[in-house]
Amino acid sequence: MDEPIIRDAISRILTSIAPEVSLAEIDATVPLREQIDLDSMDWLNFIVGLHEQLHVDIPETDYRKLRTLNDLVAYLQAKSPR
């Protein structure tokens, strides 16, 4: 899947959870949860959103691989259906 599509989906989902955030302001190399106030419920809603939009199932054991925005994009690209 194209990176722009993935980034766009991430942006939309994050906005619905944390409307005060704009993806343009996020440093892609710094852990997301240090930049955005996301509790475990928010994070779960984010994972559910990614599942719905990109059809990628992210098991709980993979959560720790998704610390930064770059990590997230790379992971989703690798796992998304063609």
Partner: protein, 402 residues
């Protein structure tokens, strides 16, 4: 004749502004039906009516701010004749010297669009939740395109507009003043409730460390076998354990009113939800102790979503019998909270951390959480409080039974 009054919506809400009526004169109301939407400093509340009757007339018009317990409408009881109704009104009008209110005809009920605070001239149709949220975040509704029925602006539209909002670059954000005022009002209501709590309630505090090895493992296994939409959070186990433990400790589940404690027969756990732009609200999940974990998770998710969208039901605000606050996500170990009056207890959970733990003479590394109880010493003593916390700890050792 039933006088439908504005119910108390929590210790820190003593007034509200009627935004709109959701029923018409002549309509028959079922128990639990939402009859009006009332705006408070914390949320736009769907006010439920717990009696059955037929709407006779509206006493308060949309746009009016009234204190709690104000009669908002009159409902004719089933079987009450028009003559009896008229007689009641005549007697009560004289007794209370109410200015005669013209009954609002069905056609005159303002749709959400036209309901505004006095002075504002809005032409848009906007849902109460969207209007309230927009104010809270300081966003003007002028440029928001509505995607709801008949072009109504709904909450999603406001979220979208917020994310697309260009950076201010020195230009003032339109509506920021209204948003700032909302935030200040919310701060004041929270301040009043917390100050009252510390003034009136003799708090005592207890802490206990709860090992969560079994709970973590059970949760991981369970979640691995389910679709992502059915995953459970540890928070749900905490809520259920607290709710079930409270059945055995009624002195921690109820209210102190006029110096007297009344235990509640039901357990409705108020969940402290932090609002994204600041502020705090603690609506209840009704009958928490009776819900299976899956359902509890769904209820929790839905409740948090609605709380953050500033739209809740009156029963969720007036009925919590205890409050649970889960601040572990922010990384703190322990929370020693302030009880929300007229409740008598606040249970807190800190972060789940890997800690050295001695188990059966062996040193291990386990996930552990610190659970705390803040309790009203007028209603309970430390001994019972300690037994309660011990029970919560025990219940969390057997998550499969929760």
């Amino acid at each position: 004749m039933i006088e439908f009054k504005l119910p108390s919506l929590g210790a820190d809400m003593d007034e509200g502004t009627l935004l709109e009526w959701c029923v018409r004169p002549g309509e028959t109301i079922k128990r639990g039906q939402v009859v009006a939407i009332v705006d408070t400093t914390k949320a736009a509340i769907d006010v439920e009516c717990w009696e059955e009757g037929t709407v006779e007339e509206f006493v308060v018009a949309p746009g009016t701010k009234v204190p709690v317990n104000t009669v908002l409408a009159l409902l004719r009881t089933p079987g009450e004749s028009p003559e009896e109704a008229a007689r009641w009104k005549a007697e009560h009008r004289q007794a209370q010297a109410l200015a005669p209110q013209p009954a609002l005809a069905a056609a005159a009920i303002a749709p959400a669009a036209a309901v505004t605070a006095p002075g504002a001239a809005q032409r848009l149709r906007v849902s109460p939740a969207a209007r309230r949220y927009a104010e809270q975040v300081g966003l003007s509704l002028d440029d928001v395109v509505g995607s709801g029925p008949q072009g109504t602006v709904v909450l999603e539209d406001v979220h979208r507009a917020q994310s697309q909002r260009a950076k201010p670059e020195g230009k003032p954000i339109v509506g920021a003043a209204a948003g700032a005022e909302r935030a200040a009002e919310m701060r004041r209501t929270i301040a009043a409730a917390m100050a009252r709590s510390k003034r009136e309630i003799p708090h005592y505090y207890l802490l206990t460390d709860v090992p969560l090895e079994a709970a973590s493992r059970w949760l991981a296994q369970r979640n691995a076998g389910r679709p992502v939409t059915e995953r459970l959070l540890m928070a749900v186990l905490f809520l259920k354990a607290v709710a079930r433990a409270l059945r055995r400790f009624p002195e921690l589940n109820g209210f102190v009113r006029e110096g007297r404690f009344e235990a509640s027969a039901e357990v409705h756990v108020g969940v402290a939800v932090s609002l994204r732009q600041g502020g705090l609200i603690a609506p209840a999940i009704l009958n928490t102790d009776r819900l299976p974990l899956d359902e509890l998770m769904r209820e929790l998710g839905d409740l948090v979503k609605r709380a953050r969208a500033f739209t809740l039901r009156s029963s969720e605000l007036s009925m919590p019998t205890v409050t649970v606050t889960n601040l572990g996500e922010q990384g703190v170990d322990t929370v020693l909270g302030v009880i929300y009056p007229p409740q008598v207890a606040l249970v807190g959970f800190g972060s789940v951390r890997e800690r050295p733990w001695v188990d059966d003479g062996q040193l291990k590394l386990l996930p552990v959480v610190t659970a705390t109880l803040a309790a009203d010493h007028r209603a309970s003593d430390g001994h019972r409080g300690a037994l309660f916390l011990a029970q919560v700890r025990e219940l969390l050792q057997q998550p499969e039974l929760l």
